[in-house]
């Protein structure tokens, strides 16, 4: 089953179109709209739907395959790969870094971000969850 995908590309953004496509896919996966095992639109279909150059979509798909987000299936198209823990962590961290950079740009201070991190992870010292994740990081 091919899941339809549409989003608006910002052509004037400094972010190249192929990157926007990649990011959007990752967001869709994170929010659960695209699940592992779902087929995504063919390169041609997505290019037509987004009104984007075919080669641009091809590049986005190529890189998503390399990054392990998409998996090409002979004769069928591309599907969302079952993300293993490592890849999930990697893409989550990538999003986190982007978000931090954006905060930095608009002037959010380091101290404030640290505060937020502490809030999210609970108290610094004795939270058991935090310890488990901390080892893996």
């Amino acid at each position: 089953m091919v899941k339809p995908v549409w989003f608006k590309i910002d052509f004037t953004s400094h972010v190249p179109v192929y990157k926007q496509i990649k990011e959007r896919f990752k967001v869709l996966i994170l929010t659960g709209e695209l699940k592992p095992g779902d087929f995504v639109p063919s390169i041609r279909t997505l290019a037509d739907d987004l009104n984007v150059n075919v080669n641009t979509v091809a590049r986005a798909y190529r890189e998503l395959v390399v990054e392990g987000v998409l998996e090409p299936v002979r004769g069928e198209g591309y599907l969302i790969k079952q993300l293993n823990g490592e890849e999930l962590v990697r893409s989550s961290i990538e999003n986190f870094v982007d978000a931090v950079e954006r905060c930095k740009e608009i002037g959010v201070t380091f101290e404030r971000l640290m505060l937020l991190l502490e809030q999210v992870y609970g108290r610094r010292d004795d939270d058991p969850e935090r310890e488990k994740l901390g080892e893996k990081l």
């Binding site: 004037t12 400094h14 972010v15 190249p16 290019a47 009104n51 150059n53």
Partner: protein, 261 residues
Amino acid sequence: MILSVKNLVKSYRNKRAVDDVSFDVEKGQIFALLGPNGAGKTTTIKCILGLRKPDSGEITINDSYSYLPEQKELYRYMTVERIVQTNEKISRMFNAKKAFELLEEFQIPLKEKIANLSHGMKTLAYLSLVLAEDVGLYLMDEPTWGLDPLMRNRVLELVRTMPQSGKSVLYTSHILSEVEKIADIVAIMVKGRIVEMDNLDNLKEKYVACVVPKGEKLNGYLYRSTKEEDVYIVKRSEANGKIQPADFDMIFEALVKGVKI
């Protein structure tokens, strides 16, 4: 490789309108030649087509081609319908049925005389003729100039899908937003020279904006000058100072201004 231009030089009265220009267009590629007015884009295309004779350089075209000129002039006394019929008689690769379909899509009245069409409608009529030719390479000089936004998008959409049938497009424009939608390769031409040529996505990542105190020089292109600071567009590898992302608009403007330190 559909089109190859090597070291093209063309001068008028001792001034170089095209100054050692080289580029290739591959099959199924959309190549945008961008630049301000007077940069030499039209002269380049005309030299490729043999309408003007280059001073030096090598031009190779490996496929059939169709041309949309900058001045979209047709026989004023003919009706649109008549022009299609005339085109059919003169050109072998012309598909009149397709032309009529396009004319209908662009809402151009068939029984109207060319003289009575507005500039935008004339452009759309000429486009219908050009796009109805079944060729390998479409050379278009300012294809959307003078079109209303709706028609402009329709035309861009048509151009966007051409690589899907293996066709290549070389077009010139000075409207950046269009280029970003459809171009594979962008060449920025200023004063007869190509100052930057790359895949559009690569271009966007290649450059960043650097903000430095006024007077401090960087190896890049000066984009803006405020009271206290200078903003340069610089290659990512040579970035310094306060770094910000640069969008294509900024890169283009800086390169065109060409104040390279």
